[in-house]
């Protein structure tokens, strides 16, 4: 019953958002049926589109897991974007060095490098200053995020990671570190089984960690009540650092997975905004790792569907954002539905009693 509600309500809210969005789209002179048709077919209409949707959702899911850890530990990691890019940078650096290593070992090395880099980026400065000086993590993670992105940019814009004689971009990572594609047929969707497997494992690990281990128990206790945590004998400072490290670790992992699976090199674009979208992903999932999969896929579908909308029905990209914003807003407001139903019922009973 409870779980049914938790699925039905967001869906109802999405439908509401879609209706309002449809009215808006129609008012702006587009045919809502075509717009939504292309959105849905773009997200799920073919094997490749589904592959695209999954590929687009993977970084959101993995970063979202990290955000969920931080929220459950009572911390707001708003700088996952920078941790993501630092993780990507580390993975790429290892990816085009050490080419003599066996492929699988090299691959693991890259992934681990990305994870460690992300963990340190969130854990060292934001984590330690939060634990020992009390600096607010929203500021420090945000500042470190900007620094991380600028650092990555510097490295490939004339810095040591720029591929010699080329546009600002890093060298490509070694062939044997690149994730194999799912099937050749889905190659354009860049969907790789390895990346999917890593995401699924990550979800299971985080779920297990948060709800089944003493580590997760301690993180959640610190997140909910620091004084009780002290009373329980938990080292609050340590777990503050651990929480931010873990949170950054998953952002870094996402960066590594994206580099190994999709991009294969650091490009001078830096506009993914995964760190911000993943906050929404995690919160809509109530910071629950399993829910993060659903929310991540939802946003992946919105991204790919939105791209398709532009191509098929010539809807400007900006309108996609308008719709996405509306959907997020209304899904957040899902509680309005039972409230409206309750209000309606009460009014009816009131009427019937006053009529009687």
């Amino acid at each position: 019953m409870k779980s049914l509600r938790s699925i039905l309500l967001p869906m109802g809210a999405s439908v509401l958002a879609i209706i309002i969005g449809g009215i808006l789209v129609a008012a702006l002179g587009y045919n809502p049926v075509t717009v939504y048709g292309s959105l849905i077919s773009g997200a799920f209409g073919s094997g490749i589109n589904i592959g695209n949707t999954i590929t687009a959702s993977l970084p959101l899911i993995i970063v979202g897991l990290g955000i969920a850890i931080s929220f459950q530990s009572g911390l707001f990691n708003i700088g996952a974007d920078g941790q993501y890019w630092i993780g990507a940078t580390a993975a790429v650096w290892f990816g085009y060095h050490f080419n003599s290593l066996p492929g699988w070992l090299h691959m693991i090395l890259c992934i681990v490098a990305g994870m460690i880099a992300g963990a340190l980026w969130a854990g060292i400065i934001p984590g330690l200053t939060k634990a020992y000086v009390g600096s607010h993590e929203v500021i420090t993670t945000m500042m470190m995020s900007y620094i991380g992105i600028l650092l990555a940019r510097y490295l490939i814009e004339g810095g040591p990671m720029q591929q010699k004689g080329f546009n600002p971009q890093s060298p490509e990572i070694a062939q044997n570190t690149q994730f194999p594609y799912f099937t050749q047929g889905l190659m354009q969707s860049q969907l790789s089984l390895v990346a999917v497997a890593i995401a699924i494992i990550a979800v299971i690990v985080v779920w297990f960690l948060l709800y089944k281990t003493t580590l997760g128990y301690q993180l959640r206790t610190v997140g909910l009540n620091q004084r009780a945590a002290r009373y329980a004998g938990i080292n609050v400072k340590l777990f503050t650092v651990v929480a931010l490290c873990l949170s950054g670790m998953f952002a870094g992992l996402a960066g590594a997975v994206q580099m190994l699976g999709v991009d294969h090199r650091l490009l001078d674009g830096f506009s993914s905004n995964y760190g911000y979208t993943a906050i929404v992903v995690s919160l809509l999932a109530r910071n629950n790792p399993i829910g993060v999969i659903i929310a991540g896929l939802f946003f992946g579908a919105l991204t790919t569907g939105g791209q398709n909308m532009q191509m098929v029905s010539n809807v400007p990209a900006a309108l996609t954002d308008v719709l996405t914003g509306l959907i997020i807003f209304f899904v957040a407001c899902e509680r309005i539905i039972p409230q409206v139903i309750g209000w309606y019922r009460r009014r009816r009973t009131l009427k019937s009693t006053s009529a009687a």
Binding site: N167, M187, D268, S271, Q307, M311, V312
Partner: protein
């Protein structure tokens, strides 16, 4: 308006979607076969006040002027969208897919090999060896050079009122990347040639969109004595021109004729014919003459150039510009692409 294009030294895709670009004679519309064109922007999007927008202008012009051209555009949200977006068009039978920007090099290579029947055009890159990929590279250092010559002449001879005596010009780059730096390198050399004692300030904003930041950079350079600002920074540069206008100093536009932004300030603009390249390639596809390989756009083929000078400048400036232009075309002047920092 139409028609005047042949008199201009280069084409100007001006304000919005109703600007016209011509390399064919005006008025005539070619009745070609029906073709579908897809445009994939990089993450800068159509509001970049730069090459994404220019490519879009070129494509729209083709749609209006050539019969049977239907178009579609998609703005990539992240680097990971490039392959899916290019593939989408190829897969759906588009005849030509235009990829804007060198960032899409890997993606174009991958997708073009998978869809050999589709033609691809990539802007600002030089992919060779794939028959269905055409690359357009622009020697914008040549355009920058001419702009630098104008700035040098104006500065040295005090050709405009309100100039100070400090002999300083300011350059604002969006980012330290080749499409930006080629302009800047050319500008520095052209300026030094005419005004060897002058000083060129150079700063990078690391943004192509933050107008207010561009304005702040410009104000900083102006406070250091610069009275001609040359921003190569997309929307950020528009803020710089805005600031120059407010401070009653001068500016030089980029990519397209930006005189409309501040007619009293913009002396000229260094232009880059991305729209022309796109238009011509679409035409080639329609007439079946598309060829893979790298096309270089430069002063010689009017692929890059300089917009008409501001009214009130003496004819001598125009004369010098024309001379220098001929010297570059003939190879007498060689313009380097390396920025002096």
């Amino acid at each position: 308006g139409t028609g005047a294009a042949s008199n201009q030294s280069t084409t100007t895709g001006s304000n919005g979607t109703n600007g016209t670009t011509t390399s064919n004679s005006s008025g005539t519309t070619t009745a070609g076969k029906t073709i579908k064109i897809g445009l994939v922007t990089d993450t800068g999007g159509l509001n970049d006040n730069g090459f994404n927008h220019l490519a879009y202008v070129g494509m729209t012009n083709a749609q209006h002027q050539l019969n049977g051209v239907s178009t579609s555009v998609v703005q990539s949200q992240s680097e990971s969208d490039y392959v899916p977006n290019l593939s989408h068009f190829a897969q759906n039978g588009y005849n030509l897919v235009i990829a804007v920007g060198y960032l899409m090099e890997d993606a174009v290579k991958q997708v073009a090999k998978e869809y050999p029947k589709t033609d691809f055009l990539i802007i600002d890159d030089n992919i060779t060896g794939i028959p269905n990929v055409a690359s357009a590279i622009f020697q914008s250092e040549q355009a920058g050079y001419l702009a630098g010559v104008v700035a040098g002449l104006v500065q040295k001879n005090h050709e405009l009122k309100g100039l100070n005596t400090k002999n300083v010009v300011g350059v604002i780059g969006g980012q330290d990347i080749p499409p930006v730096d080629t302009y800047i390198a050319g500008f520095q050399q052209g300026f030094k040639k005419e005004d060897p004692n002058g000083k060129v300030l150079l700063q990078y904003t690391n943004s192509f969109s933050d107008e207010a930041l561009g304005s702040q950079y410009a104000q900083n350079e102006i406070s250091q004595g610069a009275d001609i600002i040359f921003p190569v920074a997309g929307g950020c540069g528009i803020g710089a021109i805005n600031a120059a206008n407010s401070a009653k100093v001068y500016a030089i536009g980029v990519d397209t004729n930006q005189a409309y932004l501040a007619p009293k300030s913009v002396i000229t603009s260094a232009t880059k014919g991305v729209d022309t390249a796109v238009f011509d390639t679409i035409k080639a596809v329609q007439s079946g003459t598309f060829k893979g390989g790298v096309s270089t756009f430069n002063l010689a083929n009017n692929g890059v150039g300089i917009a008409p000078l501001m009214k009130g400048l003496p004819q001598s400036v125009q004369t010098t510009v024309n001379q220098v232009k001929q010297q570059i075309i003939s190879g007498q002047i060689k313009v380097s692409t390396t920025v002096q920092k």
